[in-house]
Symmetry: C3
Subunit: 424 residues, 3 copies
C-alpha cells in the first residue's frame, strides 16, 4: 500500500488500532494466514457434519482446501485436498460421502485414512507408501473439530483445551446435531472482523435486536472482557452478576470466567454469565428455542462463551449453541461461518423452529457485516490514522497487542516491544 | 508493465502521445492522483446540491471519500469520511441530510463544522478538540465548489480563479440549480479521457450529433485550442469569429479567450466563441432549452468554455451550462461526471425538458466512452508506440508536456527537459 | 507466489510435473507468452474464415489483438490491431468485412495490405510510408493459417512444416470449410491444459465417450506418444497396429508417425493410426459424419494427428478434422479454441449434422475443462509438490523437459541441464 515501514517500530502503540497496512497489505495477510493456521487450533465444524464412515466436508483457509473425513475406525482426519500425482483436487463438493478418496483425474485412490491404495502404471521404483495424502493435525473435543496446519509438531492440544473443558462439559456437545449453518461473506480484513466481535461499545448504536436480549449493563461491563467498564456502571453490574452467580451456583451449575493476557500463546477465555433477567435463553423473546441440552434439566439463564483463539468461538445457552469461525479469505475478505447446534434428537419443526433459533445472531451478524465493511473502506483512506480505544474496547487493545507480539514479522517490520504492552 | 525506464529520460518527446506505462502503471496512477488532488482545485459539484444546513454529498477520488457538507453558518466544508476513532466511514449514502455527522459504528458524533462533540467512555486523557474530522481545502466561486487535498497550505485560490471570473460572471451560476447529473464510467486511464476532450480531430469520424451543432470550421480551428488549424481553414474561421465578436461586443457581451502554456501551474484557459450561425444555444436544433440565465436578456449564440485544470471544465450557453469532472478511479478507470445547470427558478417539464437539455452531450459522451476504451485497449499492446499528433491535436501536445513538467516523478522516471518542450 | 528460487536450479527434475510457480506466476506467464508467440508458428484458424478480400477476424494472445485480413491480391496478413496515431484499436468486432482498415477514432485509414493511405492534417514532415501497420509473420499451408510474432526474422516456416506435409496432403484442407467453432474458457495455466492433452492415462477415469470411440489398447499405448505402454499391452497393440497399417498401406494410404525429442526446436509430431475396429471416423458410433474429404474415396478408419507445437494441433478423420489452439490468456486462464472442418461443398443439415459432427470432442473438452480447473486449484496449495509421471505420461515428461530447455529463463531462474534431460 505504499506505506513506509520504520525498521525498528511498526507505528503501533498499545491502546490504539493498527496502522493501515495491517488491515490491507498482501504480504502481511499471507503471514497472518500462516500464523493463525500454524500456531492456533481452529474450530472448523462439529463432528455431526460427518456421522458415517466415508462422510467428508471441505474446510478452506486462504488458498488451502482440507478434506475432513471420517474413517472406518471412526477416526476423523484432515487431508490436504491435493493428489500426490499431479496435484489435482480430489474432493470437489463441499460435503459428500465416499468409499475411498479417488482423484477424478487419473483415479489414484487413497483409503479413508489417507494411504495410497491405487495408482496404476507407475514406474517400478514408485513407492506407494511414500505417497499417502499429506495431513493437517486434527483433534475432536466434545464433538468440536479443531485443526492445526503446523508443518511439524502442532502446539499441545491438551494445554490448549484443558481450561475450556469445565465450560464445555454441561452442554453435551458430543451428542449435539447441526441445525443450521450460515456464511456471511464480509469484504474486510479478518482483524477488523475480530475487533468488531471483541467489543460491545458499538452494540447500542448498531444492534437493536441484540441489545433487547442482553442486559445493557453487562454488554458494557463485559462486552470487551472483564474490566471493560468502571465506576457506577461496573458496580451496578457486579451486583447483578453476584446475585445470578449465587443462585446458579446453588442450583449446581458452573459460573465464573478466565481470560488470557497478551503474553499467552492462545489469547483464550471462557465465561458463564447471565443473559438478562427473565431471559431463559439467547432468543429474541428469551423463551426456549429447543430442548435442553447435555446435563441441563432446567434453564439457569446463563450463557457460556468460549474463545479458543481470535477466530474461533462458541456461545452456548442451555438449549442451543452457536459456533463461530472467521475464515480469512483475502486481505479484504473474511467469511464469517456460523453453525447452530441443538440436541441430537431434536426434530426441526417439532422441537425447534430454525428461524426462531437463528434470529438473534442472524440479524446481528448482518449488521456486523455492514459495519465492518464500512470500517474497512474508511481504513483504506490516506487520512486514516490509528485511533484510541475507549474503555469498552479493552479486549481489542489486548487482541491487537497479542497479535503484534505473536505474529511472525518479516525483518523489516519488527516492533519495539516496549510500545506494545499495556503500561504496568 | 515490464517496461524498461531509462534513468535520464522517460521516452517521451513533445508532439507525441505518452509511452505506454503512463497510461496503465499502478505507481504512476497513484502519483497522478496525488498530483492532481494536491496541486489543482478540482470542480466537484455545484453548491445547489446541498442548499440546506446539514445537506451533504460524497466526493470520491482514488481511494478517498470526502463529505461535502453545509453547516449552520452556510459555510461548506470538505471532511475526509474517516472516523477519528477506528476509521469507519461516517456517511454511507452518496447524498443526504443530517443534523450532525454521527459515525454508525460507535456513535462518535461531529458537528457540521467537524468538531468532535460526542465520544462516550473514552479514557480521561482523551482530548476531543484534538479529534476533529480531518479536512480538505474547499472554496466556492459562483456556486461552483472546488476542492484541493494538499496536506499543508493549498495553492492560492485567488490566483487560480481570477482570470475565469469575467467569463463566469454573466452566467449567474450562483443562482443556478442542478437539472441533471450523469456519470459515464470509462475503462480507461484519466489521461486518455483528457486527451479525447482536448481535441476535435476525432469529431468528424466519431460525433455526428456534435458536428451538426458546431461549425465545422470552428471545431478544427479551435477544437484543440487557438492555432489548431492553419492556412485557408484558419483564415475562413478567423473571419467568421471576427464577425460574431463584433456583433456580440456591440451587444455588450464578453468575447475573447486566454490559454496557459506548458509552464503554467494550472494549464487553464477560458473562451467565448460562437456555436454556429443560427444556433442560439448548444442544443441539437440550436433552439433554447431553458430560460436565459444570469445577466443575459437575449441569446448571443455564444458558448463560454472554462478549463480550470485538465480534469475540470464548464461549458456554458446563454440558457444552461454543463460541468465536467474526470474523476480518476484506477489506472484503467475514470468516471466522467457531468452536471447540467439551469436557472434556479426553472421548473422541469414547464421551463425545460431534461432529455432535450442533455441530448448533445449525452450522445457525445457515450461515443467518447467507446472511443476512449478502445484507445486504452490498443495502448496496452506490446506494439503500441507513441504517435505523432496532428495539427488539430496541439492542445494534447501541450497538455502532455505540462503533465510531464509538473507531475512529481520518482527518481528513476526523470525526464530530459529539453525533449519535452515545444521547439522555440 | 512467494516461492524461493534457487539461483542454479528450478527445483525441476525430469519425469515429474513442474514446481508450483510455473503454473501460476505472473512473470513466468509473460515470459511464456513471448516464448510461444515468438519461437513457434501458432495455428490461429482456417483461411475459409475469411474467403473474400476485406474479410477479417481478430486473434488474441495475451494482451495482443491481431487483425487477420485477406487483401485484394488474395494474400492474408496479420496486423497488430493498434493505430499508428494514438494507439486505438482499429477493428472492434471479432470478425467482419471492410473495404479498408479505418481507425474509428480519427479515421486514419490503412489499405488491406497495411499501408497508411489516409491521415489528415498531419505536420508537413510526417511520412505516411513510415506509418504502415505493424505486422506479425503469417503463413498459410493447406488452408491453415499460422502466425509468429518474432520481432525480427521468424523461424523457418519451411523447416517447421515440411514433415507435416505428407500427413496433411490427403485431407484436402485447402478446399475445406469451417462447420463449427467453439471456445472452452478454462481457468488454468496453459501448461496444465497442454499436459492434459498429451496423455490418455486419465481417459478411462474421465472420458467415457472418448473411450467408447477409441481402442483402449491404443489410448494407453499411444496416448502419451509411442512407447507410452510396455509389456503385454504394448505387444497386443503393436499387432493391432501392424494389421491396420498393412491393410491401409495396401489401399494406398499413408501410415506411420514421427515425434521430436526434447532437444528439437518445435516439439512436433504427426501420426496416422486406426481409430478402433469397426469405426470409420471419430464419431460416437463410428459412422460417417460428413462427406469424404480431399483425396479419400473410401474410409480407412485412420486418424491423422499433427502436433505443430504444444498449443496447436489438428486431428483428422477421412471425413472431417478438428483444429485445436490453446490460447494463453492469463497465468490462470487459457482459451481452448476448437474448429471443426468439413468438405467445402458440404451443406449443413443435408451433408452433416453439427451436433453429430462435434459430439465426441465437445463432450471430451467439457470434461477436460473441469479436470484441468481442479488440477489448477490443487496445484495452488502450499502442499502441492511435483509428482512422478506414470508410464502413460511419457509425452508430458518430454513436453515439460522441452519447455524447460527452450523457454527463456530470467537469470535467477536458470536450471541445471543435467537434471532436466531423460537419463540416457
Amino acid at each position: 500500500m505504499g506505506d513506509t515501514i520504520s525498521p525498528t517500530a511498526a507505528g503501533y502503540i498499545y491502546g490504539r488500532s493498527l496502522p493501515q497496512r495491517f488491515y490491507c497489505n498482501d504480504t502481511i495477510f499471507n503471514e497472518d494466514v500462516n500464523f493463525l493456521s500454524q500456531t492456533q487450533w481452529l474450530l472448523v465444524d462439529h463432528s455431526a457434519r460427518i456421522p458415517q464412515a466415508g462422510d467428508y466436508f471441505l474446510f478452506k483457509c486462504g488458498k488451502e482446501s482440507l478434506i475432513i473425513v471420517r474413517d472406518r475406525s471412526d477416526e476423523i482426519h484432515a487431508f490436504y485436498n491435493v493428489c500426490r500425482h499431479r496435484g489435482s483436487l480430489i474432493c470437489l463438493e463441499p460435503t459428500g460421502h465416499v468409499k475411498a478418496l479417488t482423484c477424478p483425474y487419473h483415479a489414484w485412490t487413497y483409503d479413508l485414512s489417507g494411504r495410497l491404495i491405487g495408482a496404476s502404471s507407475m514406474p517400478s521404483e514408485f513407492d506407494k507408501t511414500a505417497h499417502a495424502l499429506k495431513r493437517a493435525h486434527l483433534r475432536v473435543e466434545s464433538g468440536l473439530i479443531f485443526v492445526n496446519m503446523a508443518d511439524g509438531e502442532p502446539p499441545s492440544f491438551e494445554r490448549f483445551i484443558e481450561r475450556h473443558r469445565p465450560f464445555l462439559a454441561p452442554h453435551g456437545f458430543d451428542t449435539a446435531k447441526i441445525a443450521v449453518q450460515m456464511v456471511y461473506p464480509t469484504e474486510a480484513n479478518w482483524k477488523l472482523v475480530v475487533e468488531n466481535f471483541l467489543e460491545c461499545y458499538h452494540c447500542k448504536p448498531a444492534h437493536a435486536t441484540y441489545c433487547a436480549v442482553h442486559s445493557a449493563d453487562k454488554l458494557l461491563s463485559l462486552g470487551a472482557g472483564p474490566g471493560s467498564a468502571s465506576g457506577d456502571l461496573a458496580t451496578k453490574f457486579d451486583a447483578e452478576l453476584a446475585e445470578w452467580e449465587q443462585a446458579t451456583r446453588t442450583a449446581g451449575q458452573l459460573v465464573g470466567m478466565f481470560g488470557d493476557d497478551v503474553d499467552a500463546a492462545y489469547f483464550q477465555g471462557s465465561s458463564r454469565t447471565p443473559i438478562q433477567k427473565g431471559f431463559l435463553t439467547e432468543s429474541v423473546d428469551g423463551k426456549p428455542v429447543a430442548p435442553l441440552m447435555g446435563s441441563y434439566v432446567a434453564y439457569d439463564g446463563g450463557q457460556t462463551a468460549c474463545s479458543f483463539n481470535p477466530i474461533s468461538y462458541v456461545m452456548a445457552s442451555n438449549d442451543h449453541a452457536v459456533l463461530f469461525l472467521f475464515a480469512p479469505r483475502g486481505p479484504l475478505r473474511t467469511d464469517v461461518i456460523t453453525t447452530w447446534l441443538v440436541r441430537e434428537d431434536a426434530v426441526a419443526g417439532r422441537d425447534y423452529d430454525s428461524a426462531h433459533l437463528t434470529k438473534v445472531w442472524d440479524v446481528t451478524l448482518k449488521e456486523d457485516k455492514t459495519i465492518t465493511e464500512n470500517n474497512q473502506r474508511g481504513v483504506l483512506s490516506r487520512h486514516y490514522e490509528p485511533g484510541l480505544h475507549s474503555l469498552h474496547e479493552k479486549r481489542i487493545s489486548d487482541f491487537v497487542a497479542w497479535y503484534m507480539l505473536h505474529r511472525r514479522p518479516t525483518p523489516t517490520d519488527m516492533v519495539d516491544e516496549d510500545r506494545i504492552r499495556p503500561a504496568s
